[in-house]
């Protein structure tokens, strides 16, 4: 376990070093960015709508009992933009993008393609992993934007149309509690999650062994590990955020 973490950290540092090395693999990057977004945008949007609605629903009744209806908008924005957005993004990136990256690299590993590449004098980390990690980071940031917009709109529609909230109050309370750093920290989280998901997936894929079954195991482990890592990362970033950035209304 500790040895494996050590290897993973060494692998991540190698990737960081590969990032600085020219030439950057532009084509591979574009292909991967395209691929990851094509498998993740639709599920992300589909998850974000009910997510926004559920949050609005939960908050709606709670807030009404407390007599603070006017804050529904603000609360749902905070919940979606700060927490749900990055988490949904992370789950989708890990589940859809990461598993595909892991399966792809794992299959290449057991077919000895990665060995062949090394023998041909090409470093698979620079050639394959770096573009994937950068692509996952970019798509995660974009995806987080999509999830936030869709989630907030979903909450808005739900609140205004079904719960008879007033559009004005929803929007006004936005201003009261929300602030720009909320969005920024959400994007920073997404960036980190994208990097972590792609690194874990690549690491697991490139170390797959034992035939096709080994690839299946690697994909499975990569998704589970990524989820755990992402929730831990999320906690750390959120804690730091509350420490470092002054909150409105407090």
């Amino acid at each position: 376990m500790i040895r494996a973490s050590g290897h993973f950290i060494a692998f991540s540092l190698d990737t960081l070093r590969g990032l600085a090395r020219r030439p950057f693999q532009v084509r591979e990057f574009i292909q991967q960015a395209w691929f990851i977004s094509s498998v993740s945008i639709l599920p992300a949007a589909l998850v974000a709508i009910p997510f926004g609605a559920v949050i609005a629903l939960q908050l709606g009744s709670l807030v009404r009992q407390l007599g603070a209806q006017s804050f529904t908008g603000a609360a749902s924005v905070l919940a979606v933009v700060r927490e749900a957005g990055p988490i949904v993004t992370a789950l989708i990136i890990a589940g859809a993008g990461g598993s595909a990256i892991c399966a792809d690299l794992g299959a290449r590993k057991i077919r000895e393609e990665l060995d062949a590449m090394q023998v041909l004098g090409i470093d698979p980390i620079q050639r394959l992993v770096v573009p994937r990690v950068v692509a996952a980071m970019l798509v995660a940031v974009l995806l987080n934007g999509v999830v936030s917009v869709v989630g907030v709109s979903g909450g808005y529609l739900f609140n205004v149309v079904l719960q008879d909230g007033t559009p004005g109050a929803y929007l006004a309370s936005f201003q009261a509690l929300g602030q720009l750093p909320d969005l920024i920290v959400g994007e920073i989280k997404a960036l980190l999650f994208g990097a972590a998901a792609a690194l874990v997936a690549s690491y697991k894929g490139m170390n797959a062994k034992g035939g096709p079954k080994g690839v299946g195991d690697a994909v499975n482990q990569s998704v589970v590990i990524t989820f755990m890592l992402l929730f831990a990362l999320n906690f750390v970033v959120t804690a730091l955020y509350f420490q470092l950035v002054p909150q409105k209304g407090s």
Binding site: E113, Q118, V119
Partner: protein
């Protein structure tokens, strides 16, 4: 020109279990060597260790002044440019067609214009008889074709040291004969150093200058072709003549009971078959490292089996 590879005291284990230990041999520059051994004795592991894909536990691999296991990652990538490797299953890039697979090393390492790349790629594809299949993906062709495509890719950068993992497995006898001729001709033209892992006894007897045999976790013997072909060492003799009688059993090593039963039943080993002539380049010229047939046997006072070298 070829490069000498000197292996000293090499040991490799996986999880505490040694695959082979204390292997020492020299692949002479510009010569063809064949490595034999029962299935699972670690021949593929040996090739991968030679190119630095696997780190040995102990020992050195000297290529010019570089000790491969002790090179930095970056220096290793430089030394690897000397190598062309054909993996056991071809190891083609599954997402690229055959043309792109063969062109890949050229595109990565040279700044040649695409027209020149095309010329080189078609030359190599023609050499392995794959012209017309260049648009196919590796998943759409037979194992033998994948192997030949892997061969074309391994040769495209004109390597100095060429490692082949079973180039002839999965090939029909006619293609194997062509391939053996191709290996001899390549060696003649480029002077590269060859190491070929094979299970084909005919290949092992006629193609190489040197033969090595890995058995039971160590290098049983390595030396000039005539030395092994005239050897009466039980393991070498059994393997090079594809016999059932001898120390090698189905599970690599026969147990003592079986060996005793064999000895008790008084089975006689059949006489050594004659040593064939080495295969010549197709223009009939002598090989680079050719010695007169029977020279080694004469020098060492060993009578070759009757009918040899004719």
């Amino acid at each position: 020109m070829g490069v000498e590879v000197r292996v000293e005291g090499l040991t490799k284990s996986f999880g505490g279990h040694a695959v082979w230990s204390d292997v020492s041999l020299t692949l002479p520059s510009g010569e063809i060597s064949v490595l034999l051994g029962p299935s699972g004795t670690g021949k593929s592991v040996f090739l991968k260790t030679l190119v630095g894909l696997l780190k040995p536990d102990r020992g050195s691999i000297w290529i010019a002044d570089n000790d491969l296991p002790r090179l930095s990652e970056r220096a290793l990538y430089e030394v690897r440019k000397l190598f062309g490797v054909l993996f056991q299953d071809g190891a083609l890039f599954g997402s690229m067609n055959l043309y792109d697979n063969v062109a890949f090393p050229l595109r990565e390492h040279t700044r040649r214009p695409e027209s020149e790349i095309k010329k080189i790629v078609f030359e190599k594809l023609e050499m392995v008889g794959l012209v017309g299949a260049e648009e196919k993906l590796p998943g759409e062709i037979s194992g033998g074709m994948r192997k030949r495509a892997g061969l074309a890719r391994a040769l495209v950068l004109d390597p100095e040291i060429i490692l082949f993992d079973e180039p002839d497995s999965g090939l029909d006898p006619v293609r194997t004969a062509y391939l053996n001729q191709l290996i001899i001709d390549l060696n003649q033209q480029t002077g590269a150093t060859f190491l070929i892992v094979t299970h084909d006894i005919n290949t092992a007897r006629t193609v190489p200058d040197n033969i090595g045999l890995i058995y039971h976790g160590h290098l049983a013997m390595f030396g000039p072709r005539e030395m092994l072909l005239s050897s009466t060492e039980p393991v070498v003799r059994q393997f090079l003549n594809a016999q059932r009688i001898g120390p090698i059993g189905m599970a690599e090593e026969k147990d003592a009971d079986e060996l005793q039963a064999e000895a008790a039943s008084g089975v006689e080993l059949p006489p050594l078959p004659p040593i064939p002539l080495q295969l010549r380049p197709s223009d009939g010229a002598p090989r680079r490292a050719e010695h007169a047939p029977g020279a080694w046997c004469r020098e060492n006072g060993i009578a070759p089996p009757p009918g040899s070298f004719s």
